[in-house]
């Protein structure tokens, strides 16, 4: 795993922010992954193509990048298959239930100075820190 590299972290973060800004400036939409995927699931008529296109861009990005400079590192995920499936269920249910995830609340919501998103972000980061403290140190 790569060491902490502040310039890459900041540059990558700025790109995420630029993407979020572009989606609002060009299409007038919030770049929340949970909201985008939920819209596909909810089958909003006439609203599918841009959602699927955004998701496609997200998946194509590491393929394009891998051809040139920055290949996608093989994801290292701890835990059994049971933990992975349980975590996926919790992430999907919880993020939609709470109206957003790291992108929708953590980036877009905080950038809008939404108190609602600040509360959500604080709660999910604090919960995740607690879960890691228990699973790794208890």
């Amino acid at each position: 795993m790569a060491e902490f590299d502040p310039p890459s972290a900041l540059l990558g973060g700025v790109l995420i922010g630029v993407a979020s800004a572009m989606l609002m400036l060009l299409n007038g939409r919030i770049a929340g992954i949970t909201g985008i995927v939920s819209g596909v699931i909810a089958n909003a008529v006439g609203d599918q193509p841009w959602r699927l296109a955004f998701i496609a861009g997200l998946i194509v990005a590491p393929i394009v990048s891998g051809l040139f400079v920055h290949p996608l590192p093989q994801p290292q995920m701890p835990g059994s298959w049971f933990v992975i499936v349980a975590a996926g269920l919790l992430v999907g249910f919880g993020a939609r239930h709470g109206g957003g995830c790291t992108s929708g609340h953590g980036v877009c919501g905080i950038a809008r100075l939404s108190a609602r998103s600040m509360v959500a972000t604080t709660v999910f980061i604090a919960t995740a820190i607690l879960v890691v403290a228990i699973t790794c140190h208890a």
Binding site: A2, A9, L10, L11, G12, G13, V14, L15, I16, G17, A19, A21, M22, L23, M24, L26, R29, A31, I33, G35, V37, S38, P49, A56, G57, L58, V60, A61, P62, S65, H70, Q74, P75, Q76, M77, P78, A86, A87, V91, G92, F93, G94, A95, H97, G99, T102, S103, V107, G109, R116, S117, V119, A120, T121, F124, I129, L130, V131, A133, C136
Partner: protein, 153 residues
């Protein structure tokens, strides 16, 4: 054009996650593990993302309408309710268990890792299940004439 510009936004978003290292679940867990060898990367990523997004949004507020759309769809809710908190606790639990949230999970599908594919399928099942749960909740709430919940992002 609407879908093409959206594809480009997804692409840039994906490059950002990749360059910042946030597609790697182990690195996200390194940030969440404050009792271990703490990795501050995620905080730097969020700071950069919020700053750039905030500038873009400030410009968008002065824009009559988006370049390829009729209007900006800003989230309208500002209330802090129980569902927001409960949902975020459930999401945070799953996120802390493996270090994957929806964006990096989808992007990691490109690795064709069976574990990522299993996670994403479970995540979609979770989202669909929430939809059913929500429609049940809403049908009860109709009696009380409470407005429907809408997604923030």
């Amino acid at each position: 054009m609407f879908a093409i510009s959206s594809f480009v936004c997804g692409l840039v978003f994906g490059f950002g996650l990749l360059i910042s290292g946030m597609t790697q679940p182990a690195k996200v867990l390194g940030f969440l593990d404050i009792l271990g060898r703490w990795d501050p990367t995620l905080a730097f990523v969020m700071a950069g993302a919020v700053a750039a997004s905030g500038i873009g949004y400030a410009i968008a507020r002065r824009q009559g309408h988006p370049v390829f759309g009729a209007q900006h769809l800003w989230p309208t809710r500002s209330d802090i309710d129980q569902q927001l908190v409960v949902g975020s606790i459930i999401f945070g639990t799953g996120w802390g268990l493996v270090g994957l949230c929806p964006g990096p999970a989808l992007e990691n599908l490109a690795s064709l890792s069976p574990r990522v594919i299993a996670f994403v399928l479970a995540m979609l099942v979770g989202m669909i299940a929430q939809g059913f749960w929500q429609s049940r909740l809403s049908s009860i709430r109709v009696v009380k004439e409470t407005p429907l919940a809408s997604a923030d992002g």
